[in-house]
């Protein structure tokens, strides 16, 4: 079964932030993970690479938690398929 979007997002955040496995969950917020604006850029960069997306700046501004990133990525992926 292919890895779902949430798991891919969790994997990317864990990897870019050098977190231990299990620290990032499906409901984590960037604030509770201690992710600042520069960290956010690195995550955005890796998300774009992973999913082959170009995330618009206004969408990127909304990425403040794992559920927000997952929702945003799913929306952009759906738009891409249309």
């Amino acid at each position: 079964m292919p890895e779902n979007v949430a798991n891919r997002v969790i994997r990317i955040i864990t990897k870019t932030q050098k977190f231990a496995d299990g620290r990032v969950t499906e409901s984590s917020t960037f604030k509770e993970l201690g992710i600042d604006s520069l960290d956010g850029l690195n995550i955005l960069f890796a998300i774009e690479e992973e999913f082959g997306l170009n995330v618009p700046d206004d969408a990127a501004m909304e990425f403040k938690s794992v559920p927000e990133v997952v929702a945003g990525v799913e929306r952009l992926l759906a738009d891409k398929q249309v």
Binding site: Q17, K18, L38, L41, N42, L44, F45, E48, E49
Partner: protein, 397 residues
């Protein structure tokens, strides 16, 4: 005005990743010059450089932090931390300055990013590219890591950068603007683009750096960082600090002449200004750590300048023969060498020396260190663009 003590030193260089390896190699006359590893130089006119051996960023930074810092900034972080630890100082954040010198900024990051842009046609780049390549990244790193909140900036005057930085830091402490300063320089120029640019100038030696030798053929590019901790001498005494030496003078001048050709007059005026600032008499100066790049023009011109300032020339050596020319960081490496020479009564030699040049008729301490306790010493730095900076140090006590 206050007197200013040098109480800490740190160095990352081709001679090793710490101060002890730097100084032991200099005393032994052992160069850190060898075939360049970071770039394939098989199609170059030269093949040798002075690269830092075995620098592991993860020894100094966690993985995430290391990824946010250019190699030049990693060097600075390591050397500044060593200098602060060496001094044993408890820094008062808003009474301390950080002044760094750097000629080029984050070249390794820049070179790699341009390769992705022009060769790989990539459209997405590391979001940290800008804060990694900015020339002041080293000053900011030292400030942030050590919590130093006073004056903090970077001076960029090519190969005199760190001398201007240390000189200004010295003046700040002497005047009472701050009580202590962490000052030095860093550079990481061993990239494909930089090496090609230096090759085009036809000033890099094909094999090694032989300052003041008749058969010298140019400079050898180096990399690294060095830092000093400067503090009010009385405060240093009060806390029982070990004082390596006293920094007592700083002089600057501009040739206002040629962009690259050196001027004996400009160099002499900077030395004279440093002597005047220090209150030293020429007879008290027993050693000059020369700019001594190993180019035909510099070494002969610097000899004329030294002879113009000193009726009886002091002993002179170029430690670039061992740590290479680390551009903006060179003056900091050489300031550290000069301070330790005063402290230990050992003058590092000019290595790789083969035969005297009548145009460089000085005692350049060929190949073997000299056990001489001199009273005071100068450290010369002369930059492309005609910008000269000279630091004066005195033995303490």
């Amino acid at each position: 005005m206050r007197r200013v003590a040098v109480t800490g030193a740190g160095a990352v260089s081709a001679l090793g990743v710490d101060l002890a390896s730097f100084w032991s190699a200099l005393k032994a006359g052992r160069p850190g010059i060898g075939p360049i590893r970071a770039v394939d130089c098989s199609t170059f006119k030269f093949s040798h450089g002075a690269e830092v051996p075995g620098f592991d960023p993860l020894r100094y930074f966690d993985e995430k932090t290391a990824g946010q810092l250019d190699r030049s900034v990693q060097f600075a972080g390591a050397a500044a931390a060593e200098a602060i630890a060496d001094s044993g100082i408890v820094l008062v954040p808003d009474r301390t300055a950080v002044i760094t010198g750097c000629a080029l900024g984050g070249k390794p990051t820049e070179d790699d990013t341009y390769r992705q842009l022009y060769a790989e046609n990539r459209t997405r780049f590391d979001p940290m590219s800008i804060p990694k390549v900015m020339t002041n990244a080293s000053a900011s790193r030292v400030s942030m890591h050590h919590g130093i909140t006073g004056p903090c900036y970077t001076v960029s005057t090519a190969c005199a950068s760190a001398a201007h930085a240390i000189g200004q830091a010295f003046w700040m402490v002497r005047s009472g603007l701050v009580d202590a300063a962490v000052a030095g320089g860093t550079e990481a120029p061993v990239t494909l683009g930089m090496l090609r640019a230096w090759e085009a100038m036809r000033v890099v030696a094909p094999d090694t750096c032989r300052p003041f030798s008749r058969d010298r053929r140019g400079l050898i590019l180096g990399e690294g960082a060095a830092f000093l901790v400067l503090e009010d001498l009385e405060a240093a005494m009060a806390r029982g600090a070990r004082v390596h030496a006293e920094i007592c003078g700083f002089g600057m001048s501009s040739d206002a002449g040629h962009l690259t050709a050196p001027s004996a007059d400009g160099a002499a005026r900077a030395m004279t200004a440093a002597l005047r600032d220090s209150g030293l008499d020429t007879a008290q100066v027993g050693y000059v750590n020369a700019h001594g790049t190993g180019t035909s023009a510099n070494d002969a011109t610097e000899t004329r300048a030294i002879r113009a300032v000193f009726a009886v020339p002091p002993l002179v050596s170029s430690t670039k023969s061992m740590h290479g020319h680390a551009l903006g960081a060179s003056p900091a490496l050489e300031a550290v060498a000069t301070v330790l020479a005063l402290r230990d009564g050992v003058l590092p030699p000019t290595a790789n020396f083969t035969e005297p040049d009548p145009a460089c008729d000085l005692d350049v301490i060929p190949n073997q260190a000299r056990q001489v306790q001199v009273e005071a010493a100068l450290s010369n730095s002369f930059a492309f663009g005609g910008l000269n900076a000279v630091l004066a140090f005195r033995r303490y006590p």
